[in-house]
C-alpha cells in the first residue's frame, strides 16, 4: 500500500519534471534563436563592456571547442558504428592469441587510424567494451594521434631543416606505444578498467538486451542507422562535457602563462626535457598543430626536449586526461600517465645521450 503510494508520487514528480524540462528546452531554443538573429548587434555591443583579458580567454576557449567538436563527432560516430555493426567475436577472431604478439599489429593499425587524440578516446573505449584487450587499446591511444599522415606532414613542414626531429618523432612514437602497451599489460593483464556507470540491476537487463540483438543476425538498415545516431548523440554528451571543461582550463593557461618562464626553468638537458613535457601537457594542442609551436622553441631548447614535447603532448594532455578519467578507472589512468611520462622521459634522455 505504502509502496504504490510512493510510486505514484514518484511518477507524478517525474512527469512534472518533464514538463519543466520541456519548458527549459523551449526557453533555450528561444534564447538560441534570439542570440542567432542578433549575433552581430550583441557582438558589437559586448566589445566595449568586456575586459580584453576575458575576451582573450573566451576566444581561445571557443576556438578550442569549435576545433575539437568535429573530431569528437567523428570519434563518437566511429564508436557508434563499432557498437552497432561489429560483433565481439569478430574482434576476438582477428586478435593474435599471444598478448605480446598483438602489440606490433596494434601499433601498425594505430598508424592507419587517421584520428587525433580527441577522437581516439571514445573509439578505444568502445573497442575495449567490445572485447579488445586493454593493452591493445593503450597502443591505439598512444600511436594513433602521432602516427598519421597529417601529423607527419605538419611536422615535416615545421622542421624541414631538421629532419631528425621528424623521423625521431614518428619512430619513437611507434616504439614507445608498444613499450607502454607491454608495461600496462604486465600491470593490469586483461582486467576490466573501463569505468562502469550503471548499477547491477541495469547491467543484467542490458545484458539480456544485447543478447537479444546477437540472435538477430544484423540490425536492419533503418534500425542500424537510428541506433548509430542515438548512440553517437549520447556518447557526444558523455565525452563533450569533459572536453569543454578541459578547453576552459587550457584557455586560462594559454592566456596567462608567460612562456619566457620556460626558458628560465629549463636550463639543462634534464630540466628542459621535463619543462617541455609539462608545457605540452598544459597547452593541449592538436597533434596536427603542435609541431609549429614546437618549432618556435627551436632556438632555445635542445632537440631532445623538442622531441619530448612532440611525442608526449599527443599522448597525454590536460584536455584528454579529464576525458580519460571519465572513461577508465582512476587507478588505470594514473598508471597510464605515470608509465607514459616515465617512458617518454627515459627514452628522450637515452636518445640525447646516444646522439
Amino acid at each position: 500500500m505504502i509502496q504504490t503510494k510512493k510510486d505514484t508520487h514518484k511518477q507524478k514528480k517525474g512527469i512534472e519534471g518533464t514538463f519543466s524540462a520541456d519548458f527549459i528546452g523551449l526557453g533555450l531554443l528561444a534564447l538560441f534563436l534570439i542570440l542567432f538573429f542578433n549575433m552581430e548587434k550583441i557582438k558589437d555591443g559586448s566589445y566595449d563592456i568586456l575586459p580584453s583579458e576575458w575576451i582573450h580567454v573566451s576566444t581561445i576557449f571557443l576556438s578550442i571547442v569549435l576545433e575539437a567538436v568535429p573530431f569528437i563527432l567523428l570519434g563518437v560516430f566511429v564508436s557508434a558504428l563499432i557498437q552497432v555493426y561489429i560483433k565481439e567475436d569478430t574482434i576476438q577472431r582477428y586478435l593474435p592469441k599471444n598478448a605480446y604478439a598483438a602489440l606490433f599489429p596494434a601499433a601498425v593499425l594505430g598508424a592507419l587510424f587517421p584520428v587525433c587524440e580527441c577522437a581516439i578516446i571514445p573509439v578505444v573505449r568502445r573497442l575495449i567494451k567490445k572485447g579488445m584487450p586493454l593493452h591493445v587499446g593503450v597502443v591505439f591511444l598512444v600511436a594513433a594521434p602521432i602516427l598519421n599522415p597529417v601529423v607527419f606532414a605538419s611536422t615535416f613542414f615545421a622542421f624541414r631543416s631538421n629532419m631528425t626531429v621528424v623521423y625521431t618523432r614518428m619512430v619513437l612514437a611507434f616504439i614507445l606505444a608498444i613499450l607502454i602497451g607491454a608495461i600496462l599489460y604486465l600491470v593490469f593483464k586483461n582486467s576490466n578498467q573501463i569505468k562502469e556507470h550503471h548499477t547491477e540491476q541495469q547491467h543484467t537487463h542490458d545484458h539480456e538486451h544485447l543478447h537479444d540483438h546477437h540472435h538477430e543476425q544484423k540490425p536492419g538498415l533503418m534500425m542500424g542507422i537510428r541506433q548509430t545516431f542515438y548512440h553517437a548523440t549520447d556518447e557526444f554528451f558523455d565525452m563533450g562535457k569533459y572536453l569543454i571543461l578541459g578547453a576552459c582550463i587550457t584557455a586560462m593557461f594559454q592566456t596567462f602563462l608567460d612562456r619566457n618562464i620556460l626558458h628560465t626553468l629549463g636550463s639543462d638537458e634534464w630540466s628542459s626535457t621535463l619543462v617541455m613535457m609539462a608545457f605540452a601537457y598544459i597547452l593541449s594542442l592538436c597533434s596536427e598543430a603542435d609541431a609549429f609551436v614546437a618549432a618556435s622553441f627551436g632556438n632555445t631548447f635542445t632537440v631532445g626536449s623538442i622531441i619530448a614535447f612532440l611525442v608526449y603532448g599527443p599522448m597525454l594532455d590536460l584536455k584528454n586526461t579529464i576525458m580519460l578519467f571519465a572513461c577508465f578507472r582512476t587507478r588505470f589512468v594514473i598508471a597510464f600517465m605515470i608509465t607514459g611520462t616515465v617512458v617518454v622521459f627515459a627514452a628522450v634522455m637515452l636518445l640525447q645521450y646516444l646522439l
Binding site: 510510486d7 511518477q11 517525474g14 512527469i15 519534471g17 518533464t18 524540462a21 523551449l26 533555450l28 538560441f32 534563436l33 542570440l35 542567432f36 549575433m39 550583441i42 557582438k43 559586448s46 568586456l50 582573450h56 573566451s58 576566444t59 581561445i60 576557449f61 571557443l62 576556438s63 578550442i64 571547442v65 569549435l66 576545433e67 568535429p70 573530431f71 563527432l73 560516430f77 605538419s154 613542414f157 631543416s161 556507470h197 550503471h198 547491467h203 542490458d206 544485447l210 537510428r226 545516431f229 553517437a232 554528451f237 558523455d238 578547453a247 594559454q254 592566456t255 608567460d258 619566457n260 626558458h263 628560465t264 592538436c286 596536427e288 598543430a289 609549429f292 609551436v293 618556435s296 632556438n299
Partner: protein, 343 residues
C-alpha cells in the same frame, strides 16, 4: 517505474536536441558573419561544416526521438550514457554545454591582442644559424658600414631616409642598390663552398628565394608572409639591402630598444590555441609614434642586427631588421591571421 524512465529519456533527448541545434546555429552564425576566421584556420573549415551539418541532423533526430514510442527511445549500448544523480547535477552538466554557446554568441570576434604575443614570445626570423658562422659576421660588418650599428640608430635611419627622400634621383638610387647587390653577389661567390649548404634546404624555398632575390622591392602580403619569414630565416644575408614593404600590428617586447618594434602577424595552423606571432624587427625613430596593436604599413631597407635574446647568458642572435623609411597607419586586413601555405 517504466513510464518514469521513459519520461527521463524523452527529457534528455529533447534537451540534447535543443543544445545540438544551438551548436549548429552558432557555427552557422559564425560562418555567415565571417567571424569564424577569428577562431579556425581556413583549411580546417571542411571539418567545421561537417560538424555543423552533423549537429543539425542529430538535433532533428533527437527531437524526433523525444516524441517517439517508448521502446525505440533507448539505444542498446548498455545504458552508460544516462546522467545519474540529482537535478542540480543534471542542470550543471547541461550548463557546461550551454556555456560555449553563450560565449560564442556574445563575445566580439576579434584577433588576439599584443599582450598574448608577449606571453608567447615573438619569432623574428632568427633561424637556426649559429651566431659565429662566417657569412653572418661579414653581414654584421655590412650592416654596420651602411647603418653604423645598433647603438647609434639615428644616423642609420637618416642614411636610409636620405636615400628615399630624394625621389628625383631614382637613377642614383638604383645604381646604389645595384652596387650593394654586386657587392653581395661577390661575397656570396666567395663563400658559397662552405657557408651555404643549399642541398639541405628545401627546393621549394631555394626556388622561392631565387625568385624574390631578383626583385628590388619585396612586398610582403597575407599570402606570402610566412614564406618570406622562412626565406629571411634561411637566406638572411642575401636579402640585406632589399626594400621591404609589410603590414602588421605594432608589437613591442620587453627586451626591445625604445626605437624598435615589430609589425607582427599571428600565424594560425588549426585554431587560436596554436597561434604564434611572427614579424621582422623594425627600427627607427618613426616607430615611437605608433602605439601597440595599431595596424601599420612599414617600408624600409633590410639589414642585419644582433638580437640580445630574452634569456640571460643566451647567445645573441643575428636577425634581419627593417631600417624604417616610412610607417603609415592602415586598417586591419580582412584576414588578420596568416596561415602556412604548405598544409
Amino acid at each position: 517505474m517504466e513510464e518514469q524512465v521513459n519520461q527521463e529519456h524523452r527529457m534528455h533527448a529533447f534537451l540534447r536536441g535543443i543544445i545540438m541545434f544551438g551548436f549548429a546555429m552558432l557555427i552557422l552564425g559564425l560562418v555567415i558573419s565571417g567571424g569564424i576566421r577569428y577562431y579556425i584556420a581556413p583549411h580546417m573549415l571542411p571539418f567545421i561544416y561537417f560538424g555543423m551539418i552533423t549537429f543539425l541532423i542529430l538535433s532533428i533526430v533527437q527531437i524526433w526521438r523525444s516524441t517517439a514510442k517508448p521502446e525505440s527511445v533507448e539505444c542498446d549500448c548498455g545504458a552508460d550514457h544516462e546522467i545519474k544523480g540529482s537535478v542540480l547535477k543534471k542542470v550543471l552538466i547541461y550548463s557546461i554545454f550551454v556555456l560555449p554557446l553563450l560565449v560564442g554568441f556574445t563575445i566580439p570576434d576579434q584577433m588576439l591582442g599584443s599582450s598574448i604575443a608577449s606571453n608567447r614570445g615573438i619569432q623574428l626570423a632568427q633561424g637556426e644559424m649559429e651566431p659565429q658562422t662566417g657569412p653572418v659576421s661579414i653581414a654584421i660588418d655590412q650592416d654596420q658600414s651602411s647603418g653604423q650599428g645598433d647603438q647609434e640608430d639615428q644616423p642609420a635611419t637618416d642614411d636610409q631616409q636620405d636615400v628615399t627622400q630624394q625621389p628625383k634621383s631614382a637613377d642614383d638610387y638604383l645604381t646604389e642598390i645595384e652596387q650593394i647587390r654586386q657587392e653581395f653577389e661577390q661575397e656570396q661567390q666567395e663563400q658559397t663552398d662552405e657557408s651555404y649548404n643549399y642541398e639541405s634546404f628545401n627546393d621549394y624555398y631555394a626556388q622561392l628565394a631565387a625568385q624574390y632575390l631578383n626583385e628590388d622591392t619585396i612586398v610582403i602580403t597575407d599570402d606570402n608572409f610566412l614564406d618570406m619569414m622562412t626565406l629571411f630565416e634561411l637566406y638572411m644575408e642575401d636579402f640585406v639591402g632589399k626594400e621591404i614593404e609589410t603590414i602588421g600590428f605594432v608589437l613591442r617586447m620587453p627586451e626591445f630598444a625604445d626605437n624598435q618594434m615589430v609589425a607582427a602577424r599571428y600565424a594560425m595552423t588549426c585554431c587560436v590555441a596554436d597561434v604564434m606571432p611572427y614579424g621582422l624587427l623594425t627600427q627607427g625613430e618613426m616607430t615611437r609614434e605608433f602605439i601597440d596593436d595599431t595596424w601599420v604599413k612599414v617600408t624600409g631597407t633590410l639589414g642585419l642586427t644582433e638580437y640580445p635574446g630574452t634569456i640571460e647568458g643566451e647567445h645573441p642572435w643575428m636577425i634581419p631588421v627593417i631600417h624604417v623609411t616610412n610607417i603609415t597607419e592602415v586598417d586591419e586586413p580582412e584576414q588578420p591571421y596568416v596561415y602556412p601555405n604548405l598544409l
